[in-house]
């Protein structure tokens, strides 16, 4: 019998009950524009500031260091382009990043390269990790920014962010991290971890799409990305998305107050999925190191199977998942992350990513462990590359 198993939480998540409750008043009652002078507007402004303070509290920072954006991509774009433009005035035009970043970072860096910046793409090792030492060795006198993701969205590897932050702080170089996949999975303390800029996204932690934030350490002034009205203290124009902001505050509180419980509940399910698939399906491999790894991330490549077919077939069984195959990336090349950890193209095409969370039940895991080997076997029987 088919179940419905949503195992693509790294792509997006449904709105949670608590977030929905937090948002509700802003749809019809508290709909005012925070820039308006009358009580309805002032009230909206107060709610925005309350939300900002709540989020700041969750990360141990000052409210004035949190800026609301439209999501992770905008936060990444603003952090990198804003820092680059600000640092260029001091003659700095070198950026350090890795070769497994999200496209919001990689394509932004590529954009800056066209404008004359130099970018060092640090290679990760075959388990998907970069080291603080690599960062230290890549630093130059004209390094404007180091931008390294906290945890990878495809293979779940968690980078040594506190160590990298310490290297950057010692050198006096701004350090940005894309923490879109990390919030709720890792204790983030930006002060202790020497993070200057941090991107986060709401819809990965149960808000609707279209809300995110950027933490900007006090003392750093980024060039603006979106110019217009004086919202966000003149740093990011646009009428505040109060609905999203209320949602984000609730979601961050929910996510950050349950990090340990989440890890304790989800890690064993993840490990059961990984071990179960590896032991029941021949010729497959786990992508990304096992530790430290996001508690809900499973990424496995199956030889002689193509990822999109795998996803379509799993969909017929009610399982929502994703893949790093070219066909699902919308280009001819498979995932840059899988290539970066050394997978040959043909193996990268056959990858499957399952991202589970605290709403995934042991029965869901049983069902996936029962279904995935069958589907792989079915596709292999159809594959000219498969020889028993």
């Amino acid at each position: 019998m088919n179940r419905f198993v949503y195992a693509d939480n790294a792509a997006t998540t449904p709105v949670s009950d608590s977030v929905l409750q937090a948002m509700r008043p802003y749809l019809q009652e508290k709909f005012g524009n925070p820039s308006s002078i009358y009580a309805l507007g002032r009230q909206a402004q107060q709610e925005v500031e309350n939300a900002r303070a709540a989020i700041a509290g969750a990360f141990g920072v000052q409210p004035g260091e949190i800026f609301f954006t439209s999501g992770g991509s905008e936060s990444d774009n603003w952090a990198i382009k804003g820092a680059a433009a600000a640092q260029l005035k001091k003659g700095k035009k070198h950026i350090i990043t890795t070769n497994i970043e999200h496209h919001a970072v990689l394509h932004t860096c590529a954009h800056l390269e066209k404008m004359g910046f130099m970018v060092t793409y640090l290679p990760v090792n075959d388990e998907g990790y970069v080291t603080a030492r690599q960062v230290k060795e890549a630093l130059r006198p004209d390094t404007a920014l180091v931008t390294i993701m906290y945890a990878n969205n495809e293979i779940g590897t968690i980078q040594p962010i506190p160590e990298i932050g310490a290297v950057c702080r010692e050198a006096g170089v701004w350090f940005h991290t894309d923490a879109v996949q990390t919030v709720g999975n890792v204790d983030i303390d930006v002060a202790k971890q020497n993070i200057d800029l941090l991107s986060l996204s709401g819809h990965k932690i149960h808000t609707p799409k279209g809300i995110g934030a950027l933490y900007v350490r006090r003392g750093i002034v980024l060039d603006t990305l979106i110019d217009g009205g004086g919202q966000e203290r003149g740093r990011r124009a646009g009428t505040e998305n109060i609905l999203g902001i209320a949602a984000l505050a609730q979601a961050v509180l929910d996510a950050c107050s349950t990090v340990e419980q989440r890890a304790a509940a989800v890690s064993p399910l993840r490990d059961r999925l990984i071990d179960g698939i590896l032991s029941s399906v021949p010729k497959c491999r786990l992508n990304g190191g096992r530790s430290p790894r996001l508690c809900g991330n499973v990424n496995i490549s199956f030889e002689a199977v193509e990822g999109e077919s795998l996803l379509l077939k799993l969909d017929q069984y009610g399982i929502c998942a994703s893949s790093g195959s070219a066909c699902t990336s919308g280009s001819l090349d498979p995932s840059h992350v899988l290539l970066a950890i050394g997978l040959p193209h043909e193996i990268a095409h056959g990858s499957l990513r399952l991202t589970i969370n605290e709403h995934t039940s042991p029965e869901d895991v049983d069902y996936m462990l029962e279904t995935i080997p069958q589907v792989v076997e079915y596709l292999r029987k159809m594959s000219p590359l498969w020889h028993e």
Binding site: E306, C327, G330
Partner: protein
């Protein structure tokens, strides 16, 4: 990625999957690096393709175009099968997303490649009849 109902039907219930152990011609095109390989097996009697089976490593569109191509050539004379274009395969499937059109090119080439192999086995040079079977235009290697 929006697939037509016909594509989904041919992906879900692919026709003529498998191998023909006594095939008269076998063609294989594509490569694993690109993520698509199609292998076609044909049986020929009196100049007519009486049976065709396929094996495909590839995306949903690759499986569907292989399946549709086999249906379109079974029962056809070789010279008619050679006239099968990728466009005809796309039309028979009620369209393909633009990024997937190369899969239909692969299906056309797989059939031509199997027919070329049939001629070669008959001791006939296939090139003047089948023509050059180019690499998949979308292929980057």
């Amino acid at each position: 990625m929006l697939y037509s109902e016909k594509v989904m039907d041919h992906f879900t219930n692919p026709r003529n999957v498998g191998e023909l152990p006594d095939a008269d011609g076998v063609g294989e095109v594509g490569n694993a690096k690109c993520g698509d390989i199609m292998k076609m097996f044909i049986k020929v009697e009196n100049g007519v393709i009486t049976d065709c089976k396929f094996k495909t490593f590839g995306c949903g569109a690759a499986v569907a175009t292989s399946s549709m191509a086999t249906e379109l050539i079974i029962g056809k004379k070789i010279e008619d099968a050679l006239k099968l274009t990728n466009k005809a395969v796309v039309e028979a499937l009620d369209g393909l997303p633009p990024v997937k059109v190369h899969c239909s090119v692969l299906a056309e080439q797989a059939i031509k490649s199997a027919i070329a192999d049939y001629y070669t086995r008959q001791g006939i040079d296939p090139t003047p009849i089948v023509g050059e079977i180019g690499d998949c235009e979308a292929c980057h290697v």
